[in-house]
Symmetry: none
Subunit: 87 residues, 2 copies
């Protein structure tokens, strides 16, 4: 999914749409454990959004336990994510 796929009119916030793309990449192994996910700048260019929005996506992944952000380094895919409801 690229900039063309982002729906700014949708009910789902743009940052969540981007997060969904990254989560899908993680789930299917395109982004394996330990791998660094695209940088905020990468997401800005790829999806054509503001850095603030790209940061929102990364923050969401972090909150959900998918990645760990290392200052000045990037965000890396974690082994297992934090369960949100016991699944």
């Amino acid at each position: 999914m690229t900039a063309d796929e982002i729906d700014h009119e949708a009910e789902t916030p743009v940052y969540r749409q981007i997060a969904a793309v990254l989560i899908a990449d993680i789930e299917r192994g395109a982004l394996p454990v330990g791998r660094r996910i695209p940088s905020e700048s990468d997401l800005v260019k790829r999806f054509g959004v503001a850095r603030d929005t790209a940061r929102g996506a990364v923050r969401y992944l972090r909150d959900e336990g998918y990645v760990r952000t290392v200052p000045q380094r990037g965000s890396y895919v974690l082994e297992r994510r934090r369960p949100t409801e016991g699944g």
Copy 2:
């Protein structure tokens, strides 16, 4: 123009104000073709801004076709700039 002349309150973004100074220098020959423009660090010191802002000015000059940036070298004044509207 130096740091004293930058207006952080103006509608025109700081990076554009700095770019305008450099463009004026190019237009009047103070920065001739082939000449390297001040480095990002130079602009930071001269105008008292963050590197991010100085980079914005250089990026603008590059986008407008005034200079060509060579990694690890600097940005050099080009022969002619890319026309933006047919001028």
